[in-house]
Subunit: 270 residues, 2 copies
């Protein structure tokens, strides 16, 4: 047993949708969360920059003696090479492999869709991993960059006309291609799951990588006998790289419950 915290990072606060699922599945685990709000978004950066930032984020979390690190960021999960994540020398998972495994176990017609930021989609990483699990799967992808600002600017109500129009614009192709499973490959997207579901209909299973990743994290902790003995509910320590006036409000949307503690600010450039 191991009472040390789990380290979770993302380019911003979207990774809290993964923390939400972690809290539900592993309610006694403490968490150190780092949101790189001073350098968000990663999705439009070069691969070189993304790898540099991710490595700095991991080093920062390791300074807290965490027992495991989760890259709760679709972009990092898709871009960071395995030889680098292995070099961290700690139990590590992104959201890419767990979500792909989940999608492969759910699909019946082997037609899987993936949506994410431009960097995630352009990397081709989901396609590669899915085909390593189901070689004859057909994978259809579409970058949905407008979903991020929609969520961050509060266009998230199920009946929001603008969000619905954008969703129809981006998702039309998945209906045409008859996919039966869609991976929501960006941490922001589960927030508008209802809107996406309304466009695609009930026949399409939506995969929330946060949920898939929380299951994998639990598996790893069980196998390595590192579950926490704490009986209290999990404690979350928040760190960000730039102060945001709306932190509490935005964090609460992603976490799905009221965030009451303020984040500490750190600068990883120095």
């Amino acid at each position: 047993l191991d009472n040390r915290p789990i380290g979770v990072f993302d380019s911003g606060l979207g990774g809290l949708t993964v923390v939400k699922q972690l809290k539900a599945l592993l309610p006694n685990e403490d968490i150190v969360y780092f949101g790189d709000t001073g350098r968000v978004p990663y999705g439009t950066r070069s691969n070189e920059t993304i790898i540099k930032y991710a490595t700095q984020d991991v080093n920062f979390l390791q300074s807290f003696d965490v027992k495991m690190i989760i890259a709760a960021c679709g972009t990092v999960s898709s871009v960071l090479p395995e030889e680098i994540s292995k070099s961290f020398n700690i139990d590590y998972t992104g959201v890419l492999l767990p979500a792909s495994q989940d999608a492969c176990s759910k699909t019946k017609n082997k037609r899987i869709g993936v949506i994410g930021t431009s960097a995630t989609i352009n990397s081709g990483a989901y396609e590669k991993v899915i085909k390593s699990i189901i070689p004859d799967a057909e994978v259809f992808t579409n970058a949905c960059p407008m979903f991020v600002p929609l969520v961050e600017n509060g266009f998230i109500e199920r009946d929001n006309k603008i969000a619905k129009l954008v969703a129809e614009d981006y998702l039309e192709m998945f209906k045409k291609e008859n996919v039966d499973t869609l991976i929501l490959g960006c941490t922001h997207f589960p927030i508008i799951k209802d809107i996406i579901g309304d466009v695609l209909g009930e026949s399409v299973t939506l995969i929330d990588p946060g949920f898939s990743t929380a299951k994998i994290a639990k598996d790893i902790l069980l196998k390595t006998n590192k579950l926490s003995e704490n009986q209290s509910t999990s404690d979350i320590n928040y760190f960000v790289s730039d102060t945001q006036s709306g932190f509490t409000k935005i964090a609460s949307i992603f976490l799905g419950e009221t965030v009451e503690t303020s984040p500490k600010t750190v600068d990883l450039n120095n």
Copy 2:
């Protein structure tokens, strides 16, 4: 006369809408453009961070022995205190004062609207400057953060339904308040000027800060006898702080003509 280049910077490539107007009004001036694409967007950062970045941007441009610096960034223009811009010790203008002066000379009913990023609007800077020119002006402001991703993701055609719905959502209040002049207080907004104009109608004069700023820049060069003697068309050198695969495409949209040279990449964090 002074053949040195003019330095122009922005958080990203949006500042090229200001360069477009500079080229039209001062066709023989060479320009060094820095787009801080590695740290974009500024609009959601803290004031402290924005001031730090802007100072680094100016220092970088000064390394090219420029004769004048233009902050082609609504956020920097609104947030940077005058005592800091004066300390640069070089002819300097943002877009805030030129656009405000233009709006004040155009309004008939003294009811002026301003749209921009959240940082620009929250700073209250436009309101303050406009009231220093017309003390009894009524200023109405609204942050339009979704306009930026709309432009960057190509939702810019005049008949685009999504862009039109977002514009209606943000601009409704200005119709109700009967403004006769609206400042497009973010470099991205002139790109969707037609859409904004369609929502507000012909009775509202739209102020493009890029045009206002180019006029002021010309005035300064005339007054200080620093116009270029070059007879050739202006040469633009592009610098960015992160490589973007779509640079040419995005830069061409903002500049309004095909950009053929590639940018050089620099890292101001080191």
